[in-house]
């Protein structure tokens, strides 16, 4: 029997999934609390600024998208001692490793929630982009959602963008 695939959309349900995944991943791994702000929904290109961004591509039958966790080095430096110890000097490599794993946990959880609701999405392999104050932006003109989070007064963001693929699978386009 072929299960019907539900079309994914950026809405308050997805914002709730993202928020829950970020809060639980950070709470359980680092034993610290983060608070989420109101999600922002938009259309078209948008740029985010950060120092370390974990990025994963996502596909559904007629959708492709990008999931991104964008943090500053200061935010990562503040939470890492919870696991690595207060006496450890946090290096760039440690921060990259942590954001990579956090990206994996957050979006793994989001995928699980969405697929339990019948969306059948697939994720690609995560990658991490670093560079002080780098810009990350998407080039398609799809819809996006940004969920802001605060951790001890420092801001970080999760960005989700979706782009409809007009004819069949995304890999078939030029």
């Amino acid at each position: 029997m072929v299960r019907e695939q539900k079309q994914l959309s950026l809405d308050s349900d997805m914002a709730k999934d993202v928020t829950a995944a970020v809060i639980s991943s950070i709470r359980e791994t680092f034993s610290v609390e983060v608070s989420a702000g109101a999600p922002e929904f938009g259309d078209g290109m948008v740029s985010l600024v950060g120092d370390i961004s974990g990025i994963i591509g996502m596909v559904q039958k007629q959708l492709e998208g990008t999931l991104m966790l964008c943090m500053t080095f200061e935010t990562v430096r503040d939470i890492l001692p919870q696991v690595l110890g207060k006496s450890v000097t946090i290096t760039h490599e440690m921060a990259v490793d942590a954001v990579g794993e956090l990206t994996n946990m957050v979006f793994g959880q989001v995928k699980n929630e969405l697929n339990q609701r019948g969306h059948q999405i697939k994720l690609g392999i995560p990658c991490v982009v670093t560079g002080k104050g780098h810009f990350v932006c998407q080039f398609h003109r799809g819809k996006y959602m940004i969920v802001p989070f605060q951790l001890d007064g420092q801001l970080f963001q999760v960005y989700v963008a979706l782009h409809e693929v007009s004819s069949g699978r995304s890999s078939e386009r030029n």
Binding site: R27, E28, N104
Partner: protein, 145 residues
């Protein structure tokens, strides 16, 4: 002394953060005999060397996605060898799809833990894993001892 304190544990995960997180949790349960591997090849090597030296691991935590060889492949490799039957291989991974969980259980995973996991929940799992090891050893003692 904690009943878990004598366990010898290997943590195989390519992320330093997770290796340290699990090590911290084990330390809270007084488990100090802990080694780490950053990929599947290193995990296989360490598990085999420990067995050859007659000081085998009791528990091996395996991430699913690791460089060189995946955690699932490491699990399948050792489950095909009867001498590792009483070693607990525990998948600790962000991979949460039901079909993958079933795949790991079929391949012989002792337990499957989805990340993120709290230190308290991981601690509880350790007790279950320890009970599994005790049962396995009692059974093999009854058959061969």
């Amino acid at each position: 002394m904690s009943q878990l304190a004598n366990l010898k544990v290997l943590i195989a995960d390519d992320h330093f953060l997770i290796r340290q997180f699990v090590r911290n949790t084990l330390r809270e349960s007084k488990i100090e005999n802990v080694q780490t591997a950053a990929d599947g090849n290193e995990a296989i090597d360490l598990v085999q060397k420990a067995r050859a030296s007659d000081v085998p691991y009791d528990v091996v935590f395996l991430d699913w996605n690791m460089p060189t060889i995946s955690g699932l492949e490491v699990l399948s490799y050792f489950r095909a060898k009867p001498e590792y039957a009483d070693t607990a291989f525990v998948m600790l991974t962000a991979e949460s799809e039901q079909q993958n969980i079933m795949k790991a259980i079929k391949a012989g995973a002792t337990s499957y833990i989805v990340k993120p996991v709290s230190p308290a929940d991981l601690g509880k799992k350790l007790f279950e894993i320890n009970e599994w090891i005790k049962r396995k050893r009692q059974m093999s003692g009854g058959m061969f001892g």
